[in-house]
């Protein structure tokens, strides 16, 4: 596929970049390794109120992402989810990106808004062989679990949200957590308890049974007792691990082996590759969403004059009639 700008990362900053690229009349592709847009905000704290977004005294992560999707959506950016920008190569007038799912994207510029990096679900080694055969990290479709003996592993918001939703349609629902303390919201925990979900604490999944599909699991409690419980659907909701990912091998100058060095145009050490948001570093960098919004506007406008040197850096005000408005 061909585009003017490829934005790596569909978190708040990447999505705002998609809006701004739309304002500049640039075709835009946004790629993200997760199955849903929203990055860290959606994956780690969708219900947590955020208080430092300009103009919103309080907004939840989910509301913020919905708003950004709507704002960018008016310009029809292409959202490529569940895929990773793997490698980059120079062409005569742009860059060629290969993705993990085998896509080839030719683009005039790349803006990396990768936040804390590529997210991968934290693995549950005991059932590693059953991923896709009864065990999963996400619940994209509740219906797939109807009538099953569901076990959810984890103690965070995702685990409790899924327990509540799946309990409606599953034959049985059990939540297993290796500690006595949960990190989910108190109200959600209460709702799960009220709904009659069986909760087993201080217990770990030590083994999956069944061939080829998962039929039951062995769990071991802190005192060393092992018991077998029926399980035809297991959801491992153990959070995520983040890593800078393949970008590390793109030859960009890094700071502290973790952040991408940029100049005041948000240009990295490699021509045509810009970066913005939590992933960048420069003297005085402050890692906040509000700062990232400004940085990606700078990155996109500088990319716009790189793509078309006759264009002006300043895009005009969104209140000016000449600026493309949402259709």
């Amino acid at each position: 596929m061909h585009t003017d700008v490829l934005i790596v990362g569909a978190g708040p900053v990447g999505l705002y970049g998609a809006y701004y690229a739309g304002v500049r009349g640039l075709r835009t592709v946004v790629i993200d390794s997760l199955e849903e847009p929203g990055g860290q905000v959606a994956a780690m704290y969708p219900e947590k109120p955020i208080y430092d977004i300009a103009g919103f005294p309080s907004v939840t992560g989910r509301q913020l992402i919905d708003g950004l999707l709507e704002q960018a959506g008016n310009f029809d950016p292409m959202l490529v989810l569940n895929d990773v920008a793997e490698s980059v190569k120079r062409s005569t007038d742009g860059l060629i990106i290969q993705t993990a799912q085998g896509r080839t994207v030719t683009t005039s510029a790349v803006v990396i808004a990768g936040g804390i990096g590529k997210f991968t679900p934290r693995p549950l080694p005991a059932v590693a062989d059953y991923i896709g055969h009864g065990a999963a990290f996400f619940v994209p479709h509740l219906e797939a679990h109807r009538g099953n003996d569901v076990v959810i592993v984890g103690g965070g918001d995702s685990a409790f949200d899924w327990a509540l939703a799946l309990n409606e349609i599953a034959a049985s629902t059990t939540l297993v957590h290796r500690r006595a303390k949960f990190t989910a919201h108190a109200a959600t925990i209460q709702a799960v308890q009220r709904a009659g979900v069986r909760i087993v604490t201080d217990a770990e999944v030590v083994r999956g049974n069944g061939s080829p599909r998962l039929e039951s699991i062995d769990i071991m409690t802190k005192d060393g007792n092992v018991s077998t419980i029926p399980c035809t659907s297991l959801v491992a909701a153990l959070g995520f691990l983040a890593d800078l990912g393949p970008v590390r091998a793109w030859g960009l100058e890094l700071h502290d082996n973790r952040h991408i060095t940029v100049d005041s145009r948000m240009q990295t050490s490699v021509e045509r590759i810009f970066a913005a948001g939590d992933i960048v570093d420069y003297p005085g960098k402050v890692r906040l969403i509000s700062v990232g919004f400004g940085e990606i506007a700078t990155a996109i406008n500088n990319a716009a004059i790189l793509i078309d040197p006759s264009a002006s850096l300043f895009p005009g005000h969104s209140t000016d009639a000449a600026v493309p408005v949402a259709v």
Partner: protein, 112 residues
């Protein structure tokens, strides 16, 4: 900005936090663990699971625990006993494994 592990961790070193950290930035010393201040992303996942409430954000830490803000930095920036160079920012505790050495402050901390 980063989270800091304080004195309550010493000789407990439960490591529940290590399982929670999404960026694997909690490194195991000998008597306690240490959060890499340049790798921490301020998510607070570690604080919620600490069984001895040893973890706080560096600007919300109690005055008597303030010394651990610098000490967590010392662990990564100074050359620890028996090592030839600072730990620095390896990009993940798993790449380093158990360090097995503490900062002078923690090594000399009175035992309960």
């Amino acid at each position: 900005m980063p989270y800091v592990i304080g004195s309550a961790c010493i000789d407990v070193n439960d490591k529940a936090c290590v399982d929670e950290c999404p960026v694997d930035c909690i490194y195991e010393g000998d008597r306690k663990s240490y959060i890499n201040p340049r790798e921490c992303i301020d998510c607070g996942a570690c604080m919620a699971v600490c069984p001895v409430e040893a973890i706080a954000q560096d600007f919300r830490i109690s005055p008597e625990e303030m010394v651990f803000v610098d000490d967590n930095r010392t662990f990564f920036d100074e050359v620890l006993t028996g090592r030839s160079e600072p730990i620095g920012t390896p990009g993940g505790a798993a790449t380093v494994g158990r360090v097995g050495v503490d900062t002078p402050l923690v090594a000399d901390w009175p035992r309960a």
